[in-house]
Structure formats: C-alpha cells, structure tokens
Subunit: 296 residues, 2 copies
Amino acid sequence: MSAAAPYSAVTAFLNEAAGLADAALDRFLPPAGETPARLHEAMRYSVMAGGKRLRPALVLGACRALGGDAARCAPAMAAVEIFHTYTLIHDDLPAMDDDDLRRGRPTCHKAFDEATAILAGDALLTLSLELAAEHGAEAVRVLARAGGSRGVVGGQQDDLDAEGRVLTGTPADRALLERIHRGKTAALIRASCELGALAANASNIQRAALAAFGEAMGLAFQVADDVLDHTADAATLGKTPGKDAASGKLTYVTLLGLDDARAEARRLLDSALEALAPLNAPELAQLARFAVERDR
Amino acid sequence: MSAAAPYSAVTAFLNEAAGLADAALDRFLPPAGETPARLHEAMRYSVMAGGKRLRPALVLGACRALGGDAARCAPAMAAVEIFHTYTLIHDDLPAMDDDDLRRGRPTCHKAFDEATAILAGDALLTLSLELAAEHGAEAVRVLARAGGSRGVVGGQQDDLDAEGRVLTGTPADRALLERIHRGKTAALIRASCELGALAANASNIQRAALAAFGEAMGLAFQVADDVLDHTADAATLGKTPGKDAASGKLTYVTLLGLDDARAEARRLLDSALEALAPLNAPELAQLARFAVERDR
C-alpha cells in the first residue's frame, strides 16, 4: 500500500467533484418546501447526506478525459448520485437489509417513515433517468440497463437469495458472489464512466475503454469494501463493522479469506488501469487507486 | 348513462389493444426463468395479471389518431403498463395501502415476499423508462415527469398525508383531493396519450390536444373509480368494496356525495371530449366514455 502523500491530488479532485456534484444536486432536486413537503424533504435528506460522491467524480473524470467539462456533464453527475441514493434508501428498508444508520445518520425510513422512504426512493429513481435524458436516449438506456433487473436490482435480489446459504467456496459460490457485485456495485460505476463518455460525445472505442475501466474498478471497489468491512472500526466506517460477516453474508472475505481478497482487489485494480492505457485519464487512474487502497 | 350496445366498438378496440399490449409486454419483459428467477417471476406475475390494459389502449388510440400504427408504439404501450404495474406493487405494500388482493389474486408481496415486491417494482419502473427511450429522450421526460415527485409519487404521498385528516368539505380539501388524483391517476393517463402522440411524430398542437384530453379523462376516470368503489360489490370489483369510505379516506364521494361525484365525472368527460374535437380520434372518445360510464 502507498503512503499518504500520493493521495493529495486525488483528494483535491474528489473535493472539486463533490462541490460540483452538490451544486448540481441542489439545482436538480425539487426544493424541500415544495408540496408534498415530506416527500421532497426525505429526498433531500438522503441525497444531501454527504458521502464521497465517487460516482459523480467518475462521470467528471471520464468526461474530462475526452475533453468535456463539468458544465457539460452536470445532469449525469447528479443522475448517478441520485440513482445511488435511491438504492441505499431501498436497501436500508426493514424488508431488505433493515439498517438504522447510514453515513452516521438515521436512515430515511427511520428519520421519516417506511412509506415515505419507499416513495422517496421511487421518486429519486425516476428523477435520475429524467436527468440522464438530458444526454439523450442512449444515456437513459445505459443507466436503466445498469440499474434494472439485469444490473443493480438483480444484484440485490441475488444478494437476498444468497443469505443464509451454506458457503463451501465452490466455483458456483464464487460465480454467484461475482454476479452480486457486478450487479450491486460495478454496474453503476461502469454506467457512471459511460455517461461521462456520452456527455463528451465519445467514440465507440473511447466509450468501450471507459466501460471496461468502470467494470473492473467497480468490482475492485466492492472487494475493497468487503475488506474494509472486516477491518475498520465503527467510528471510521459510520456503520456497524463486521455486520456482514456476523450475519453469515457472502462476501469476498468470507469466501476467499482476507489475504486473497486483498490480492483480488489489487488484480482488478491493475485490470482497470490497463483499460485506461489508451486514454489520457490521470484523474480516473488516481480515483481507482484511491478507491481500492483507501482505509475508510 | 348509455345502454350496453354502444360499447361493442370500444370492447373490440380494448380487446385488440390488450392483445397487442400483452404481446409487447411478453417481448420486452425478461424471461421468467432468467436469473435472478424469483425477481423475474415476480415482475411477470404482476404485469401479466391481466387488467383492462387501458393505458396501452390510450397510447394506441393516440398514435392511430395521428396516423401511426401499433408496431410504431409497441415500446410505449409496454412502458405505460409496466409503469402502472410498478405503482400497484408498491402501493399494495404493508407500509403503504397494505392490500392482500389485486385483480382477484394475491398481491406481489403476498405471492412472493416484501423485499422481492420492492425490487420487482424498482426493476419495472426502470424498465418502463428504458422502453420510453425507444421513442427518444423527450418520451423519457414525459413519462418521468408524470411519474415522479410532482406526479404519481407525489400524489401517493399526498394521499398518505391526507389519511386520518378530518374532512370538512372546504375548498382546501377539494384542492388537495384534486391534486392527489391529478398525480395518482391523471398524470399517467395523460402521459400515455402524449407517448402515443410522440410515437406518431405529433406536432406540438396535436400533442397538446392529446395531453389535455388525457388530463381530463384521467380525472374523470378517477372520479368514476371513487363512485364504483362505493357502489360495486366484491365479486364485480375484485377488491374489497367500500374500503376507502370505511377507512375515512378522502374520495370524491366522501367529499361531494354520490350524486355530485357522478355529475363531476360527467363534466370532466365532456371536457375530455372537447379537447379531442380538432382530431379524428373515435377510439379515444369511445374509450373515455367507457372509462367513465363503466360499471366494473
């Protein structure tokens, strides 16, 4: 693992992207006071809860790598973060992961109520695809395919179906876990890179390179997340550590062990960086390294 | 009210539209056996539960009124029915209306489980907007705006917020009820007409006429639904009759009384037919009459 110094550039980029993302989110979300006020408050409560804004940063990094600027990809930056927030709200529901805390604050259904949380998630999902439409119908297809039953939602269902299964470390378990993470995490990270590419009018070759980068980086990010969940403490993480392991949930660490999970994250990171080679995308490369090597 | 005879034409049109809609739905929904199978089964279980397919019929009627044909609007026909089904699945959840029966069968969360029902709804919402994208980015915007926090989802939140309020028949109550129904029902019916128009490359004037028709017809349809809920019996309706009244829910009948609610439905129907006057749209006119005067 690297020392702290090389991260100063990526930290500056993440801060810049977060500032731009927050401004775009504030612009595209309905005002909290607008009727129905409870719904619009819940939407803003969850979207404006902070977080690293990693997905908008990927949109921005991909767009800039192809010569686009932040103004051009602002709707896409907001779209991916709004989409991500909807998945968090619904995943946290009592019928799903039943989480009380998210980013150190009460989850949406705890701060409001379950019905409002379901509706706020629905409205955010709808808004994210409306914003993607600002970049044309193909951008809608990219986000919808990443998000649907063959992407994020399918990964969540696979994850629920896998709960309580006896893990034997067979190739089938490994394939299931990879499918879960491709769906739950990699699909949206890949879509973020593709939306940034579309916002910059990418060629098919450029778009494919950024999609391949996003896919590998997304998987690397999820493996790193599994590792973090096993090693970090509650204060750093903002959520209950080791919860996945305690519940017998399928993760890369429960399947491969800690050392092999770390090696897998590294292998995926290398593959992500390789996909970037034909492009001039230093921000994306730094972001990928940071996402895998971060300790919080 | 008219005799039964004038409805033979509309019945034939509805049957034709339902056949076309079912074929489009079967084509655009992922196969039930595809992984994750439970999710894809739940999606098909709810979408293929039957129903009048009124919204796809409106898409088809609007498209044909402008010279388009069924092949041209098939994605939009599927999109509006898939969108409608997602709203039914989420509305039926225990945290929302908590319904066990829908179209005479167990609701999605009863036939499967709550988590799967939430995810099936999310995946259907996502798929509906992906299908709208087949008609271009503007079609996505139309469906997303109709469906979001300023449309369907907002209407549902208004409806939940209104529960248990003391109704005094004030202008404020009336305005709230109208906002609920504009959101919950009229927004999607209007969007169905607009999507049919977009599929047929409508002029702005044609599109505006069809939007105005859809808005008035959607409100008329909902008032008629309130009336039906108070007068039909369980066998005809396929759901528990009088449930809204028993729970003190705000409806046109609880607010205006049965006679005035019927008069309001008639007034809205006239207004819908007036909007159609500049167009040659006999199927839509018949459909509007049928939707308001139906007894089941």
